[in-house]
Symmetry: C2
Subunit: 109 residues, 2 copies
Amino acid sequence: MGLASRTCEPCKGNLSPLSREEAEGMLREIPGWELEEGATKIRRTFRFRDFAQAMAFARKVGEVAEGEGHHPDLTVGWGYCGVVFQTHKIRALHRNDFIMAAKVNALTP
Amino acid sequence: MGLASRTCEPCKGNLSPLSREEAEGMLREIPGWELEEGATKIRRTFRFRDFAQAMAFARKVGEVAEGEGHHPDLTVGWGYCGVVFQTHKIRALHRNDFIMAAKVNALTP
């Protein structure tokens, strides 16, 4: 089953961060994303025709995030929407971040 | 007449950037904003209860921006929405940026 169809697990108890090797392995399942800041974050920037299109995409990302209770940091401006995931509680990457990234990828045509 | 009730002038022809002194003077009319990057940008970060509130605010900012045809760069995440204005055509500050900032301030209670 693909990552996009999985559900984030509750961020409770001891969350173990992914190692760089694990993160690099999972990155192959989410085309377009890259590791950032010592493999503690993942980022992808999506391009759009104008501001309105970028904002509409940001809203859709926000809706998916609300649904899973796992929220990105977004940058939005004319023609772009950047999406960053990190599991803030551990300041590192968790499997949930990759599930969210796959769901965000699934929003694009 | 306050800045918030003014309209952005069309960004055509020779746009002259504001000097630092002019920008500092106009900053007094937009509480909460500060100059950035050698007085070429203005920024304010708004705080919210959660992600949804921050996203709702970003949407409202986007609607004002569409109405004026002058767009910010936004950062949105759990509990915050950062708003940056710059007149991209001149990579500097123009009176329009301050008009937009005042309109954004007017969105807050």
